[in-house]
Amino acid sequence: MTAPAHSPPAPSAQENDAPLPVKRMVVNLGPSHPAMHGVTRAVVELEGETIRAMKLDIGFLHRGFEKSCETVTWGQCFPYTDRLNYVSSIMNNVGFALAVEKLCRLEVPERARYLRVVTSELHRICDHLTLVGAMAMELGAGTVFFFAIEGRDLIWDRLTELCGARLTSNYARIGGVSRDLPEGWADKTLRTLDRVAELCEEIHGLLTRNRIFLDRTRGTGRVPRQDAIELGFTGPCLRASGEAYDVRKAFPYLVYDRLDFDIPVGANGDNFDRYLMRMEEMRQSDRIVRQCFQQMQPGEIIVQDFRYALPPKPLVYGTIEGVMAHFKLVMEGIKVPAGEAYSYTEAANGELGFYLVSDGGGRPYKLGLRAPGWPMLAALPFMTKDALLADLIPTFDSINMIGGEVEQ
């Protein structure tokens, strides 16, 4: 082959080592983007493949949750809370109900507390399955996604039998829960949990020692423990960074103080630890549900007080007291004593806080929400600084940003 007529001159030694001049490029990710969970816009400044700076632009899913809740009665807020963290909605319901009960100084019956714990943990498993599945899918492991979705669907089937809906459950009420367990539900759920455990084993086998998965997630998105605390991380992300803080153990609520479960704590605070955290927490949630079924006794599922709970329908149609209470509760709402309270639970993502201010009437005066995913999303620029663009994907997945709760 003859050399081309205008072949470039042979490079000198220094030229081979000189890096190519690069310009920083600003790339827009989202808001419509398959990897941006929900609708989030990230404006990323790239130098080659390295992220030098990132600015997040959120608010595309802001639906005015707090303002809407100020205009409806306390009981009508539950569907709004459903749609916050929509993959684990019962935990939102329970968090809100606990906050209102704190203000009203209500004692919830025992069985209702167990039911709340059982359903919350089932939804926690759903949330973690969604995260693991989505994370794997976005890294290329589509099969894992289908295993996770199968597990999630089986749990949703159980919850549909209980609450009536797969996603937006609206299960908790102020003073208890709305329905008792159907016949044989506990056994069906135990079998479902067995199947979910099998699926989790499969997922473990596919991911936990998978070369590609390890390369993508180990060492990426690392958050040291002190930084995690200062940035406000809670929940699995904080525990992955090494701080053993779980609201269920630190400030026990409902019946968590009677249950025996462990808190997994990570070592490195990277994406792989956060993934392992979710897998291990699913195992612990399984333990919790099994213990609850053993400990649960028959009883009331809602506080027996017509000032808070709707009377049973035979009383509504048959007695004047029942129908009056029903009318007042539905039209004017529960009269929560004036005051303010902050109530906190361990949601799937971290500490879910509700700050309530009541003016003594039937509607909230202020309903403030501490979304657990918020500090993690705000810390995303910190987590991805000087990381590769490809590392943004597993990082974004592992913090479990749910648009509904972050953007209210």
């Binding site: 490029m25 959120i58 605390i229 200062e230 803080y245 303010e340 005066y365 501490r370």
Partner: protein
Amino acid sequence: MSKAVIAALLERFPDAVTDAYEGVGGDDCAFVAKERIVEVCRHLREVERFDLAPYITAVDYLGMEPRFEVVYNLVSIPRSARVRLRVKVPEGDGCSVPSVTGVWRGADWFERYCYDMYGIRFSGHPDLRRLFMYDEFVGHPLRKDYPLRGRQPLVPERQVDENLRGPGPATRD
């Protein structure tokens, strides 16, 4: 445990921290003067080990004077203690609070949220802009005198810097 924290605060900052009370369900709360909040928060973080970035929110008490209140819900993980600080903020020119982002970086977005929704400015905040609402939004939605279904003026389309589209064929150098 939290009561001891409040008591220590009262002792250490007698003129800044006032009206400590026990709220519903055993919440330990106190009011803090607006100008000294950073000092109090730094003390709480460094001495009393309230390391976790707090949940900061605001309340609009329309009709009361001062109108707004910024509420800080702090938690100390090593001591399992919780404390609530309330800072009263008047409306108008004085509607600003020193920012605690110097104490916890995680307070950043919470303060931006209070600014976006209530119009409370945070002096010393590195990047105080709207969080949920678009920049041209008029008003502050969570204020009590903003209607639930408010109408906004139409805004002209924002001019997007060529930069954001990335270098394409037309501008490839």
